[in-house]
Amino acid sequence: MDEIEQTNVEQTTVQNVGYDDVPGMVLTDTNTISDIIKKTKIQDVLNWGRKNSLWFMVNAMGCCGVELLSTGMAHYDTDRFGIIPRNSPRHADVMIISGYVTKKYLPALKRIWDQMPAPKWVICYGDCAISGGPFYESYSTFQNVDEIFPVDVFIPGCPPRCEALIQGFVELQKKIEAKKDRGTDY
């Protein structure tokens, strides 16, 4: 008679991830995987993909927004860098603060930022977004936007040219490639 071998499988402790209805299965959460990936070369490949598909959100907040719109048009052809304007924050990777942030607009901007899926980056475009510009020291302008959002690139100018915005994107690509960007925790 054949004896069925009884093997003792060591029961490892099951990590509690919130649901217990899968017995005997070792589950992990996505944070663990991504933390492991960040230490390997896979992150370089991921960053290469991310830096070549920086889709920015069309959120024209002031007169710099006109330059922002024309940057996404056919004349400058930002598709060659993988920079495509998107109309929904759920499709976008880069939020461009392109104007003064008033105290009334700040909650809406925070809501847009929360709607964007990670990884995501912020570019401050124009003097108004950096310091308030002509509305510096105004009663209704929110100062120090970089304390609220993790701003990677500041582009000064009133307004900056479209080429300056493209250069800002290129600088952001360099930061992502060097893993120095503030959008991801390394």
């Binding site: 105290k103 510096y136 020291e137 009663y139 100062q143």
Partner: protein
Amino acid sequence: MNAKSIIASLTSKFPEEVYDADIESDIRTVAKVKPDNVVDVCRYLKEDLSFGHLCCESAVDYPGRNEIEVVYIIGSYEHPVILTMKAILPRENPVIESVVPVYWNANWYERETYELFGVKYLNHPDLKPLVLPIEMLGEWPLRKDYQGFPNKTAKNLV
């Protein structure tokens, strides 16, 4: 009608309510009105003197005189005369009747004057702040004794 006949008609119709009426030039006239009668005067201006266009409505703060002047600038399509009408209110409790029943476009002007100066308009259909956030209601930023300007909390300088 020219400026002189308009002022004469206005002062003869409202001898008590309209005072300090003056003719600055052929096209500019000024008058001051008692705050309680501003709707009657505006209705007379619109229906009888054909002043059908309220160009602007705002306020001026005078802390020295302890007064707030509400300014109505009313134009006409019939004759080339613009009337600048002022109503003087006390600074502690500025309350005036709304002119929205006469000039419908005064709605947003009065909301903005309310959020910036704190002038309360009675019988306004929807008196709430126009562009300022609701948290800033009560600060009255365009009054001369407002403390929030200049806002020195900024760190970045370009």
